[in-house]
Symmetry: C2
Subunit: 460 residues, 2 copies
């Protein structure tokens, strides 16, 4: 078992700096104390916290403690770490900020001292300046997550450098019905870094796709080696492309961004690793990997209710080196036979306003066309008729799931227009394992990567 | 008065093909019949429509008719146009599809005939294969708009080629609280084209910014000349960058996309015209133009609750040739005096989780710093604390409005994370004239354009 397992599934937890006060850490303290995870609050000034006996020091706890979460002020962190080592904890998450990222000499020195004292120990540390981990499978978290709002059974795991961003990723994924599996925020990385977590997630049965938000790497060679041997798709977003961006990173998590061109050429050489441009793209593509079969060939069929967006998609298919599928003439003829005379059955199949009645049979024809490897479905129907006539879309969505499973070809749906329509799709996306996006750009890029991923694998 | 005024503010309207049946045009018919716009339904088979006397033919109507909307099947359109000319209408909107965009010879011929018969007349035609116009100022529409959901007092006007896309733009703008003024969809453009509408909107007092979704231009020289003399910002999205994209356009609105490189170099030479990459970017930037003062210099201050997103913004500022403002040392000192010791007061000003209490005074200091020309505010606060502690953001938002008005510098806010948080901001965006986006990419690009626009103007 990885010695990181303790961070994701601890048998006992101490919260050092636990508090009932309305401040950072309060929600997590209350959640863990109420949970099935055996949790002990530590607070030098309190007898009780949320009805549980509080301890002045972690060493006063009679039970063994596997994991300690430190949320005290920065000046008290060093002593808390010493206490933890004394207690023999296996993992420490330092959430407190105010160390080398400040550029302050005194504060940087504290961080160095912590680094020194754990060097000879087996204890692992995540942080400081982070919010640690969330495991959506067993609902363990060291941060503030409302599990009632998140998606169950997700397969996307996340490595983020900063705590805020980690939480923001969780919030956004929940809004977008993207299922996460594990989220780790690393902060200043005095011990555990992205390489350790990549190791862990590569061997994690529940993780299918990894997204990694990176500001800088300390162990460059090991990072490249780890990346070379990953067998799961890794989507990387890396900041610090510019000099001013690099300076900003330095004052954020104390990282050195490094020469961006080196990263770029590195990522291009790696087999299962893809660089992405922004975090929406990163999660949308990850969700396509997590929910859809891979794209075996390069031939894409576009089915759309908007000719304009269909044309835009063609531009992008060309840009990213994919092909617009040459539909079999029988496919086109059959589509024409079920649709009004003014629709365009050539790829893109532009059903226009007829799409609500002609979509399902057309989709089936496209999925069964051997010249088609994957489908982009552009749903651009105004809210008014959908709402007014209570037209149900769920049969379309169920059909997508059934066909995709049967025929083993991916479908990505891009929804344009009203938030109301998007929400209708998102309502069903979890149930039917759909890949729902709001931009065809992301869909085409996802297919590009899903095609490369499968084919790189085959070539070996 | 422009002879296009009849499309936006008609004194009398006939709907040819008006219907109570649940089909395209029904909602518009009901809306116009119930509205203050004097509307006459024309239907060969009905005595009454929604309680109003129906006419077998437009020529049976005793009153003068300024505008006719044609929604009959394609085969009946030519005769309907003849009837309209006979009646002496000033404007015709042909919404019916099924003409040259199909590639069908017979159907293309009908379109050509319509073109021929109106050549010698004063009557103007929009379409076919479109949904015509919506005027949000007087709430006149020839399409399906729920004005209860749209934003009042908007200043962004839209030219779209396709009907579906026009409706989708309206839906999306409403969801995003972006105020539109006029939306025109052009379809196959047998008469009125983008140049006519640009003329009209350039002289329209209510329009401040124009967004133009373009598939192809027929009158190339006139288009360039019109573009050269525009004094309002025009944001253009043009499809058909690739060969397959161009083919798709041909079967959509029958347009010829033309050589994309020519468009690219053309747009770069024009003074007030900017090419954008996707429609979210187009509307977000338009809304920044519509709601914020222009950016006078190139110096941007970034204020953020996420260091990662702050660093990302620096990369983009560098990429787009803007500058990260060098804050006055007094500004930084004063921010440090009000914030916890671990915040970074260098630009980007990274307030981290303290942002809820330190944002307002920090924003004021940045706005008053003469080294700062505009501000990007990155709001990345997780939902949990905001919701749990009912922390009100509206004082922040009001402050933004007051400062921006007083000091005449633009502020763009980028909200990351939960939909719930974004909706909180959007709730106030109309009231406080805010520019709210979900991507820093769009914010930086908006500033790039808002700076160029102002400075190109000054140089003249």
């Amino acid at each position: 078992m990885s010695n990181l397992e303790v961070f994701f599934n601890p048998r006992s937890v101490a919260i050092i700096g636990a508090s009932e006060a309305l401040k950072f850490g309060q929600t997590m303290t209350q959640y863990l104390l109420d949970s099935a995870f055996k949790t002990f609050p530590v607070n030098i000034a309190k007898e009780e916290i949320f009805g549980h006996k509080a301890y002045k020091n972690i060493n006063e706890i009679e039970d063994d403690i596997e994991l300690a979460i430190i949320v005290v002020k920065n000046e008290f962190v060093l002593q808390s770490v010493r206490d933890c080592l004394n207690k023999g904890v296996k993992g420490i998450i330092i959430e407190s900020a105010g160390f080398s990222e400040t550029g302050d000499e005194e504060l940087s020195k504290i961080q160095q001292e912590i680094e020194e004292i754990i060097k000879q120990k087996d204890t692992r540390i995540i942080g400081p300046n982070c919010v640690g981990v969330t495991n959506f499978s067993n609902k363990f978290t060291t941060t503030e997550v409302n599990f009632n709002e998140t998606i169950d059974g997700g397969k996307v795991s996340v490595i983020a450098q900063s705590g805020v961003l980690g939480n923001i990723f969780v919030d956004w994924a929940a809004s977008q019905k993207i299922g996460l599996n594990k989220v780790v925020t690393l902060g200043n990385k005095i011990d555990v870094d992205e390489i350790d977590i990549l190791d862990y997630l590569e061997n994690d049965q529940e993780t299918k796709v990894i997204v990694l938000y990176l500001e800088g790497v300390k162990r460059g060679k090991e990072f490249i080696n780890r990346m070379k041997t990953m067998t799961k798709p890794v989507l990387i977003m890396k900041n610090g492309r510019s000099e001013i961006g690099s300076r900003a990173i330095k004052s954020h998590t104390g990282s050195i961004a490094g020469n961006d061109k080196i990263y770029d050429s590195l990522f291009q050489q790696l087999h299962k690793v893809y660089r992405v441009d922004n975090f929406y793209e990163m999660f949308n593509i990850a969700n396509a990997f997590a929910t859809q079969p891979l794209l075996k060939g390069k031939n894409i069929a576009v089915i759309t209710s908007s000719g304009s967006l269909g044309a835009l998609t063609c531009d992008l298919i060309d840009k990213w080196g994919l092909h617009l599928a040459n539909l079999k003439s029988s496919t086109m003829e059959e589509i024409i036979s079920i649709a009004p005379n003014w629709i365009s059955a050539r790829n893109p199949v532009d059903l226009g306003p007829s799409s609500l009645s002609t979509f399902r049979p057309s989709l089936k024809l496209l999925m069964n066309d051997p010249n088609v490897d994957g489908i982009i479905n552009i749903f651009a129907v105004p809210k008014m008729p959908l709402q007014k006539f209570s037209i149900p879309i769920s049969p379309q969505l169920r059909e997508m799931k059934i066909l995709s499973k049967e025929i083993k070809k991916p479908i990505i749906t891009c929804v344009y227009g009203s938030r109301w329509v998007l929400d209708y799709f998102l309502k069903y996306s979890e149930k039917y394992s759909l890949s729902i996006m709001t931009q065809v750009d992301h869909a085409v890029k996802a297919y590009k990567m899903m095609h490369e991923f499968g084919n790189r694998g085959e070539r070996r």
